[in-house]
Symmetry: C2
Subunit: 165 residues, 2 copies
DNA sequence: GGCAAATTACTCGGATAGGACATGTCCGAGTTCGGCAGG
DNA sequence: CCTGCCGAACTCGGACATGTCCTATCCGAGTAATTTGCC
C-alpha cells in the first residue's frame, strides 16, 4: 500500500497556494519551481485537483491556480481522494461465497451480513481517513509557520512577490 | 492506495489454518481449493508468510502449512506487513529542503524537526495500523463462527476431514 | 485622445509513451513415506 | 519377523513471463492582455 508522489507534491503546493494574497493565482511553472518539481508531471496531478474542485483555474496570461475554497475547508483526505480515488483500499471479493463449502443460495442469510474480515479492514481504513480529515491546509500552514525560521519566511515572501509580479 | 489481493487471500487462508486440529497441516492445493483461488499465485503469497514466520511449513508427503504461532498472536497488521512490507505508505521526500527559498545549510535547525505534513500523514497511518493490530486471526475465527450457519459449519468440518485424510 | 476589433502570447487540459510493481505461471530442491532385501 | 536401506512420490521454494497502474512528457484548445487602426 503505497501512496503516489502526487499526494506529497499536492499538499505542499496547496499549502503554498493557501499562502497567496486573496484573489491572486500562481502559475504551475512557478509552483513547480518553488519545490523543484517536474512541471509536466505536476500538471497531471493538478488536473485531478481541478476536477475535484480543490483548485480553481484562471486561464490566459497572468492566470494560474488558486485554492477552490478556503484553506480550512480543504483536508488532507480531500486531496487524497481527489488524486487516488475514493475506493476502499481493501477490496473484498467475497471469496467466502466461493469454494466447495459455500452455497450462495443456501447461505444467503449469512452473506447478507458483511464479511467480518472486510469489516475489520474497513474499520481501520475509516480510522485512517478520520485522522486525515482532521487536518486542513490551514492547519498545515499554521504548523509550518511555527517551525520555519523568520529568515526563511522572509525569503519565501520575497520570492512570492517576484513570482506574482 | 490499494492493497494487493494477497492480503485478502492470506487472511482467509490463515483463518482456515487456525481452524485446523492442533498439530495438523494443510496442503496449499487444498487451501486454494477451499476458496477457489489460483494455486500458483497463492503459493507466492505463502512464501512471504512463511518468511515472516506467520506460517510454518511441513515438507514431504502429508506435509503442508500450519500457523507459525497461536492464532491470537497473529494480527491483521502482521499479515499486511509480511505481504506488503513495513515501509510507510506516505513517503516524505523532504521537498521542503529544495527549491529557491530553501537553504539546507542555513535552515538546518528547522529541518531537524520532521516535516509537519509527513507527521500528519504518519499519524493517520499509525491509527490505521493500530486498528489492524487489534484484530487477530482468532478474532476473525470467532466472528465467523458467530455469523455462519451451523449447516455451513458442518459442511466445512466435513470437507476438512476429507482434506486431511 | 478614446474605443473597438484583431492579434498575440500565455495558460491550462487532455492524449500519448515509458517504467516499475503487482499479477500469474512453471520447474527444481528437499523431505518423508513406502517397499524391499537382508539378517 | 524385525531392521536398515533404497527408491519414488510428494511438498514447498524460488526463478521466470505478463498485465496493469504509476510515472513522465508533449502538443493542442481556450482565454486575457496587447497592439493597432479607426473615429
Amino acid at each position: 500500500m503505497k501512496l503516489g508522489s502526487g499526494v506529497e507534491w499536492s499538499i505542499h503546493c496547496l499549502a503554498l497556494l493557501g499562502a497567496l494574497p486573496p484573489g491572486r493565482s500562481l502559475r504551475l511553472e512557478k509552483l513547480a519551481e518553488f519545490h523543484n518539481l517536474k512541471v509536466a508531471y505536476l500538471r497531471k496531478h493538478f488536473q485531478a485537483l481541478s476536477k475535484a474542485g480543490l483548485v480553481a483555474t484562471v486561464t490566459g496570461p497572468q492566470g494560474g491556480y488558486r485554492l477552490g475554497r478556503s484553506s480550512d475547508k480543504i483536508s488532507l483526505l480531500d486531496i487524497y481522494i481527489a488524486l487516488e480515488g475514493d475506493d476502499h483500499c481493501f477490496r473484498c471479493t467475497e471469496i467466502r461465497q466461493d469454494g466447495p463449502c459455500a452455497n450462495p443460495a443456501l447461505d444467503k442469510p449469512s452473506y447478507s451480513i458483511p464479511c467480518n474480515i472486510a469489516v475489520s479492514m474497513w474499520k481501520a481504513e475509516d480510522a485512517w481517513r478520520k485522522e486525515l480529515a482532521k487536518v486542513s491546509i490551514a492547519d498545515v500552514l499554521g504548523a509550518t509557520a511555527k517551525q520555519v525560521s523568520s529568515e526563511k519566511m522572509e525569503r519565501m515572501a520575497q520570492w512570492l512577490t517576484e513570482a506574482l509580479a
